[in-house]
Structure formats: structure tokens, C-alpha cells
């Protein structure tokens, strides 16, 4: 039996530590710990709720839009502000471009090196690489000369003797299965994706002034004026620019990302049987298409239990509770925090330490549960709930992927399934996003230039005391913010974040969180080089800065929840 510690888990956002017991070449047990705490909800108390989006946005600079969206929705829900249609469409554009860019970065820059052996690419034959690339896609950058250039660049980089971020990795590990040509193709696309993401995210500069940390959000709408006849507004020049960026995104995702995922996955089909996890999936739903109180959603909400795709339950947020038994917070009031405030209280080993006390408290994350059960959230959950709810395009895309790999739907409940679902969602959104650019243009043409519910801007228009909830499907999954406003300032603020659902520790009943459950039975060829552990953990796309919060779940507030 080996006790394996992976800390830092790299190529993620934030600070994550995994401890695992490995025996007989498999993970026998695992513990997921978040090792950073900031206390942003404590900082929010007493402040203007209209400022909260900027504070919570800084929870994460990777998914740099998601907490701003959830925050303005929660305050709008509390004070009764109704963002006009242009604001809804602008937000859809911002959210979808975030999701598209984030997923591509995750695959190429955070996850690919778990599957792609960069050093092996040096042995590739550029001519065969070209043949491989052209057999899976008509993406133009695929000539022998092109791949020879990438190989030379890689060789020069290695020959200079400074491997930088590629040093000390697990190159040559027996779990790497790609032939040299596939590795070289992936390295080329790693570099191309680096350029592509920088270019595509200009969507956010157009819509939010800058990325990271866009600055156009407002409680009640958006600060980005729209007017086809003004040069200081989103006008037809901006529309044309966005049409170009979204068209290029569609091309890159359909001709590079999707073919790469299918090609890489075809060598790792055994990973369709690894990393299943808790088998429960929860989705709040996203992309409102109408402006009423219960808007039609492009991606539906719902809950799936025990991998039963045939039964999607309606979501009931009042069933959300959480445990702090294994979290560094004061015990006792987790279920009914109305009686008291949850306070951070570190009881772990004093740093520097070698091992966490996993039988006691071992994480800054809490353990959220739905109806007492751990839930996985994220792209896989969204695609499964959409698939099970009869979303036609999702069913087609999932079917195409499964057919291409020659596997059945059960393969989705796995490490590989998460990678495939993330890619399917990206394809889906690059097909869809253009329609929101058109919707914005059409709305302007009708003369509707409203961007804000100005009647609810002044705090004098608000109730003396109000509660609100805001929900969002962030790239990494279901995100909720809850706000309590009293006398115009924040009395209490709470977030339950995707990575809290996925990366949280065991609960009061000792049920493992999704990471911990997914790691069980993961093969580990060499405990000193736990590459396989990284594969399963990375398949969730961890975002630890997001996950750590002081969360006071108040049941009565949760019952008031509405989906976006």
C-alpha cells in the first residue's frame, strides 16, 4: 500500500491537494483537499449590493464572468429588477463565449499533457502526421511542411536545454498510448489553440471592455450601450466583428477540437471504464431565450440519479444542504445556519506538513449535497440532462461521438465521458452563439436600445429587506449565489460553486465527494508518477479558487429560488 500525495495538482485553477491510497495498481481510497481560503463572502458584508458582482467576479480569473453573472442575477432577484432583452442577449453572448474559450483552453492547455507525450512527438514523421491530420479533418494547417516546422521548433526548444514548463513531467510513462504522429499533431494544436484563445476572447473585450475581468455588468442590465448609429456603442461594426470571431470559433472547434478529441479518445477507450464517480448529475439550466419569470432555456435544468438517463427529475433547490464534518469550519450549525454564522476554523496540521488528518477535517471546501446525495456538476451533467430531456441537437452530437468511438451511452459515465461531453457542448455553443449576435442586431433594428432596468437602480426603490438567488451554468457546472439585503447593504452573501460540488470532501455520513468517488479503482502504474490520478481529476476541470467559501445555506431562502 502506498500513500500518494499530489500537491500541488497543477494545470488547474487554484490550490488542490489529492491524497490517495494505492494498492494492487489501483486507487483504493482518495481524499480531495482545497488548501486556500480568502473569505470573500465575509468581505461583502455591509457593502452596496450593486458592487457585489465585481467582488465575486474576482473569486476566479479563469471563469472570469461566472460569478459576476450569478451575482447580478441574485441581486436582481432580490430587488425585483428586470433586465431588458438586450441585456439578456449580451449576457448570453458573454456566457457562451466564456464557455467556448474555457473548454478549448482546458482541453489543450490544462488536460492534453495527461494524454499527449510531448517528447514522443520528436520521433514523429511529419509526412505521416500530415496524412493523419488530413484523414480526420480538412483544417488547412496540415501539410508535411507545416508539421516538419513544428517538429523543428520543438526540437530546438528541447535542444536548448531549458525545458521550462515541460520539465520534470511524466514523459515516457507507460500510460501514454498515442503514436508519435498523434503527439506531434496535438503539440501543433496546443500552440494553435494558444493563439486562437487569445483572438476569440476579443468577444469579451467588445462586450465587456477587457478580459480577464470584464467590466460591463450592472445590477438590472448591462453597461454596454447598443445603438447601430453611434460609434461609442455596440453598433454594426461590433456585430460584424463578433460574426467574424464566432465563425472562426465554429471552424476551429469543428475542424480541430472535435477531431482531436475523437482521435485522442480512440487510443484511450479503456478510460471510458474509469472515473465514473458518484453517478448523480445536477444542472440548473442556462441561456434564457425569453424574458419572462420562467424563461425558456437553451440547456435544460434537471437531476439524474444513479446514471439513469431515462429519468430526469425536475430540480428542487430546497433539497440542497451541506456538511462541514470534514471541512475547516466550526461544527454544529451547518444545516441551520440562520442561528449562527459559519466561521472558518483551521484544525489541520500546522504547515509545513506531510499528511492531512483525513479522518478528521481536511479541506477548506464544504460538502454540498442534493437530497442527501453528492452530485456531479459540469458539462457532462449538462449534456446528460439535455440528452435525457430530449434535446435534439445534443442527442445527435452525443450519438455521433459514441458511434465514432464505437461505444455505448454507458461510456459517458467516465473520465473519457467528461472530455467528450465538454467538447460536445463546445460544438453546440459555437453553432448557437451566432444566433444571439443576430438577435442583438435584430433588436437594435426594431429600435429597442434599452440595456438597463433604470427604475430599480436607486436603493430607495428597493424593499427594506430582501432575499435573492441567482443561478448560472458556469463552464464547470451549477453555480448559485444567495444574497440577503437589508437597509440597502449586504447582510449576508453565499455562494455554492461547481468545484465545491465536485471537489468537496466526505460529508457527515462519510459519503465521498465526486472527485474522491471518481478516483476509486483508477489504475496507477507507478505511485511515484501518478499520471492516471491527474487524468481523472483534470477531467472535472478543477477550479479551486471558486470552490472555497463560507456558505450559509438557509433552507427558506433556497426554497425561493428560481432558475435563470
Amino acid at each position: 500500500m502506498s500513500h500518494v500525495v499530489v500537491d500541488p495538482v497543477t494545470r488547474i485553477e487554484g490550490h488542490l491537494r489529492i491524497e490517495a491510497e494505492v494498492d494492487g495498481g489501483q486507487v483504493q481510497d482518495a481524499w480531495s483537499s482545497s488548501t486556500m481560503f480568502r473569505g470573500i463572502e465575509l468581505i461583502l458584508k455591509g457593502r452596496d449590493p450593486r458592487d457585489a458582482w465585481a467582488f465575486t467576479q474576482r473569486i476566479c480569473g479563469v471563469c472570469t464572468t461566472v460569478h459576476a453573472i450569478a451575482s447580478v442575477r441574485s441581486v436582481e432577484n432580490a430587488i425585483g429588477a428586470k433586465p431588458p432583452p438586450n441585456a439578456r442577449v449580451l449576457r448570453n453572448l458573454i456566457m457562451a463565449s466564456q464557455c467556448i474559450q474555457d473548454h478549448v483552453i482546458h482541453f489543450y492547455h490544462l488536460h492534453a499533457l495527461d494524454w499527449v507525450d510531448v517528447v514522443s512527438a520528436l520521433k514523429a514523421d511529419p509526412e505521416k502526421t500530415s496524412a493523419l491530420a488530413q484523414s480526420i479533418s480538412d483544417w488547412p494547417l496540415s501539410s508535411t511542411k507545416y508539421f516538419a516546422g513544428v517538429k523543428t521548433r520543438l526540437k530546438d526548444f528541447v535542444d536548448r536545454g531549458q525545458l521550462g514548463p515541460f520539465a520534470n513531467a511524466y514523459w515516457g510513462h507507460p500510460a501514454y498510448k498515442l503514436p508519435p504522429e498523434a503527439n506531434l499533431m496535438a503539440v501543433a494544436h496546443y500552440l494553435e489553440a494558444l493563439d486562437w484563445q487569445r483572438d476569440f476572447i476579443k468577444m469579451h473585450a467588445i462586450l465587456g471592455g477587457k478580459n480577464p475581468h470584464l467590466q460591463s455588468f450592472l445590477v438590472g442590465g448591462m453597461a454596454t450601450p447598443v445603438d447601430p448609429d453611434k460609434q461609442a456603442s455596440i453598433n454594426m461594426g461590433s456585430v460584424a466583428r463578433m460574426k467574424e470571431l464566432t465563425a472562426r470559433a465554429k471552424e476551429f472547434v469543428s475542424k480541430v477540437y472535435l477531431p482531436d478529441v475523437l482521435a485522442v479518445a480512440s487510443f484511450y477507450k479503456d478510460w471510458a471504464g474509469v472515473g465514473g464517480g458518484v453517478g448523480n448529475y445536477m444542472v440548473y439550466g442556462e441561456y434564457p431565450e425569453t424574458d419572462d419569470d420562467k424563461p425558456a432555456l437553451f440547456l435544460p435544468s434537471g437531476v439524474i440519479r444513479n446514471k439513469n438517463l431515462g429519468k430526469v427529475e425536475p430540480l428542487d433547490p430546497s433539497k440542497i444542504t451541506e456538511s462541514v464534518k470534514h471541512s475547516w469550519y466550526e461544527d454544529g450549525k451547518a444545516l441551520h445556519p440562520r442561528e449562527g454564522e459559519t466561521r472558518p476554523r483551521y484544525t489541520g496540521p500546522k504547515p509545513p506538513y506531510e499528511r492531512l488528518e483525513t479522518a478528521a477535517k481536511y479541506s477548506w471546501l464544504k460538502s454540498p449535497r442534493y437530497d442527501g446525495e453528492p452530485m456531479e456538476v459540469g458539462p457532462l451533467s449538462r449534456m446528460l440532462v439535455a440528452y435525457g430531456s430530449g434535446h435534439k441537437r445534443v442527442q445527435e452530437l452525443v450519438g455521433t461521438v459514441l458511434k465514432s468511438l464505437g461505444v455505448g451511452p454507458e461510456a459517458l459515465f467516465s473520465t473519457l465521458g467528461r472530455i467528450a461531453a465538454r467538447c460536445v457542448e463546445t460544438v453546440l455553443l459555437t453553432e448557437k452563439i451566432d444566433t444571439w449576435v443576430d438577435a442583438l442586431a435584430a433588436n437594435m433594428d426594431k429600435g429597442d436600445l434599452r440595456i438597463h432596468d433604470t427604475g430599480k437602480w436607486d436603493p430607495s426603490s428597493w424593499p427594506k429587506e430582501a432575499f435573492g438567488a441567482g443561478f448560472h451554468e458556469a463552464p464547470r457546472g451549477a453555480l448559485g449565489h444567495w444574497v440577503h439585503i437589508k437597509d440597502g447593504v449586504i447582510a449576508n452573501y453565499q455562494c455554492i460553486v461547481p468545484s465545491t460540488w465536485n471537489a468537496g470532501p466526505r460529508d457527515g455520513g462519510e459519503k465521498r465527494g465526486p472527485y474522491e468517488a471518481a478516483l476509486l479503482k483508477t489504475p496507477v502504474a507507478d505511485p511515484k508518477q501518478p499520471l492516471e490520478i491527474l487524468r481523472t481529476v483534470h477531467s472535472f476541470d478543477p477550479c479551486m479558487a471558486c470552490g472555497v467559501h463560507v456558505v450559509d445555506v438557509e433552507r427558506r431562502e433556497l426554497a425561493r429560488v428560481r432558475t435563470p
Partner: protein
């Protein structure tokens, strides 16, 4: 490839980047610094001869926003080459190695290249709970920062959290978060790149400056490079003429807002914020916050989460408000407004940076009172 000397020149040729294109890029860099056009040739010459200095990038109480910004470095192709100028031996977000192997990479740099590497710090450093609010590999952020920054040739505090403590240090600062200057006093060659996050253009410009001249740029009183922090947003704002003419946005989405009028009344902190956003803009010059209709929130300034909030409350009344107004006077009055804001919040906090001020920045309140009511929503 033979000698490492000149590898970049070869690489540029191989990648089809002409000398002319390189000079064009370098002219842009020179412009960011406010250097004469002739400096472009000198920068280009230095770039093509450069070897790769080692850089380690530490993340503590951060959101990864500065790292993401770094990944958005503009000037495609050449920008990528500029990244290749450095050997980034430790950066948790991008490095292939994890766990023990990652820690070894960092230890190797500190052991073998002491006094020769550049350290970047992103995020604040918590001092509460014996360091348990942020640990990596079981070590506290403070322990790592002392070790690594203490042995670095220079330390770049990237972003407002690493510079001043930023968001985690906002009142009531639950974790005792500090910026590098306060957490690890006496660090050699500290450069503060406050902003939330730091603009990729400024990150690239700072590194290029160092690689070209083998020294760091001149700094203001907060140790921020003058090329990026020498003037206020207001000094260079494209909407400045509307401020001077008294044309203000009063309602989100009104004709003035759509026409690009001044955002002062909506809470803009541009007059008291030292940063080059209006000139370098963001994301390869695509846009900037005021360009998309939202006020500046002052994210490059010390304690902006406390001093610049509420964000939508406009700066205190300004002497000679409107035509011919004196921006420095606006800055002077910020301190008064800040005191009021603290009182309004019921939040009081020791200002860690008391006594520090930019050379030509917001000073203590002068003896001039507000000459007239500015109006607005407060």
C-alpha cells in the same frame, strides 16, 4: 542549432517573421514605454541576442486572472516568441509536472540559480492561522514567498493582490492577507504591477524592458513602472473632452451614454487612477472598460476595494468642476471621500499603505474646499 546566442533571430526567420515585422512590434513596445521610435532598433537587436532567463511564477491567494491575462499577450506570433524568451520553470497553471516533481522544479531553481532568476507573485499572502489559509505542497505561502523571493534577482508582484493585498485584504481582511512588500519586507528589486488584473501589454512591456536593457524601468513611489503608471486614466481618456464640456452620462443607456459622454457621475475613478488603459487598451487594443460604457473602478490603486467603493458613487465634488477643472484637486479630495465611505460602511481598517503615495499621485487633502456641488446620484 549551434550557439544559443542569436537563437531568437533564427527562430524568427524560421517562423517567417521578417526583421521589418520585428521592428514594427518593437516600435509598439517602445510606444508603450513612451520611448522614441529609435529605441525600437535597440530593442530588436537585444531581443534577437537574448538568452532565456529563468522565471518562476508563484500563485498564492489568487484568482489566476493575471496568469490568464499573461496568456492573452497580444501581437500574435511575435508575442508568442516573446514568451519563448523566458524559461518559465515553475508555473502551476501551465506546467506539465505536478506534485513532488513540480516542487522539485521550484527547489531546483532556488538551489541552482539563486540570485539569478525572476520571481513573479500572483495573489496575496495570508498571515493568519499560522499560514494555513494558503498552503502548497504542505508549505505555507509565506514560507514559500520568503524562500523564493528572498533568493530572486527581482520579484514582480503581479496584480493588485500581490501588490497591496487586494481583494483578500479588503476589510475586514479575514485571513490577514498582505502584498509582497508587506509580507516579505526587503525583497530585492521589487516591481509592483498593480491592476486587476495586470494588462498583458504591460506584462510583456516590463519583461521586454528588462531583457533589452538588463535593468528594470524607473518606478513611482509605489514601485510601479512609470511607463504604465505615470499618468491617470483621466489624463488620457478618450471621453475627457466631454468631462471638460460638462457632458455626462446620467442614466444607463441614455443618449449621452450611447454617445460616449463622460462617466464621472456614474462613479468613474479615472481621475484618481494611475494606469495606461486608455492608450494601450486591452486584448490587443480591442477595447477598454470606459470604451464599453462602464466607469473605471480604480483597480490599480492601493486598497481600491475599500477606497474606491461604492463603485457607483461619484468622486467628491471637484473645485472648478467642468471646464478647466484641476484633476489633481479631484485626487486630493478622494481622501476625504474615502473617509466618508469607510464611515458609511461601518468598516474601519488600518490602511497598510499609510504614508506611501505616488510621486505625483493622490496626496492628502489640500486646503481648497469643493467649489460647487457636482450633482449626481448620491
Amino acid at each position: 542549432m549551434g550557439s544559443r546566442e542569436g537563437w531568437l533571430g533564427e527562430e524568427l526567420r524560421r517562423r517567417g517573421i521578417s526583421r521589418r515585422e520585428l521592428l514594427f512590434f518593437c516600435a509598439g513596445v517602445a510606444g508603450t514605454f513612451g520611448l522614441p521610435a529609435s529605441a525600437a532598433t535597440q530593442i530588436a537587436n537585444a531581443l534577437t541576442k537574448a538568452k532565456k532567463p529563468i522565471l518562476v511564477w508563484l500563485e498564492f491567494q489568487d484568482c489566476c486572472g493575471n496568469t490568464e491575462s499573461f496568456l492573452r499577450s497580444s501581437a500574435p506570433t511575435v508575442g508568442e516568441v516573446v514568451l519563448d524568451l523566458l524559461s518559465v520553470d515553475y508555473h502551476e497553471t501551465i506546467m506539465a509536472a505536478a506534485g513532488f516533481q513540480a516542487e522539485e522544479a521550484l527547489k531546483g531553481v532556488v538551489r541552482d540559480s539563486a540570485g539569478q532568476f525572476i520571481a513573479v507573485v500572483e495573489g496575496s499572502i495570508p498571515t493568519g492561522a499560522d499560514g494555513a489559509y494558503c498552503t502548497i505542497g504542505g508549505r505555507s505561502a509565506l514560507d514559500i514567498a520568503r524562500d523564493v523571493c528572498g533568493k530572486a534577482a527581482a520579484t514582480i508582484a503581479m496584480g493588485t493582490c500581490a501588490t497591496y493585498g487586494g481583494l483578500p485584504a479588503a476589510a475586514p481582511n479575514p485571513t490577514g492577507a498582505l502584498g509582497v512588500a508587506d509580507a516579505v519586507p526587503g525583497v530585492k528589486n521589487l516591481i509592483n504591477m498593480s491592476a486587476c488584473p495586470t494588462n498583458a501589454a504591460n506584462i510583456t512591456a516590463l519583461l521586454t524592458y528588462y531583457l533589452t536593457y538588463k535593468r528594470w524601468p524607473p518606478l513611482d513611489g509605489f514601485r510601479r513602472p512609470l511607463f504604465a503608471y505615470g499618468k491617470t486614466i483621466h489624463d488620457n481618456c478618450e471621453r475627457r473632452a466631454h468631462f471638460d464640456a460638462g457632458q455626462y452620462v446620467e442614466v444607463w443607456g441614455d443618449d449621452a451614454h450611447r454617445s460616449g459622454a463622460c462617466l464621472y457621475k456614474m462613479g468613474c475613478k479615472g481621475p484618481v487612477t494611475y494606469q495606461n488603459c486608455p492608450t494601450v487598451r486591452w486584448n490587443d487594443g480591442t477595447n477598454w472598460p470606459i470604451g464599453c460604457g462602464h466607469p473605471c473602478i480604480g483597480c490599480a490603486e492601493p486598497d481600491f476595494w475599500d477606497r474606491m467603493t461604492p463603485f457607483y458613487k461619484h468622486l467628491p465634488a471637484v473645485a472648478g468642476f467642468g471646464a478647466g477643472s484641476n484633476v489633481d484637486t479631484v485626487g486630493a479630495w478622494l481622501t476625504v471621500g474615502t473617509a466618508a465611505a469607510y464611515a458609511g460602511h461601518g468598516i474601519l481598517k488600518g490602511i497598510q499603505n499609510a504614508g506611501k503615495k505616488p510621486e505625483n499621485g493622490a496626496g492628502p487633502p489640500g486646503d481648497k474646499g469643493p467649489a460647487g456641488k457636482a450633482g449626481g446620484q448620491s
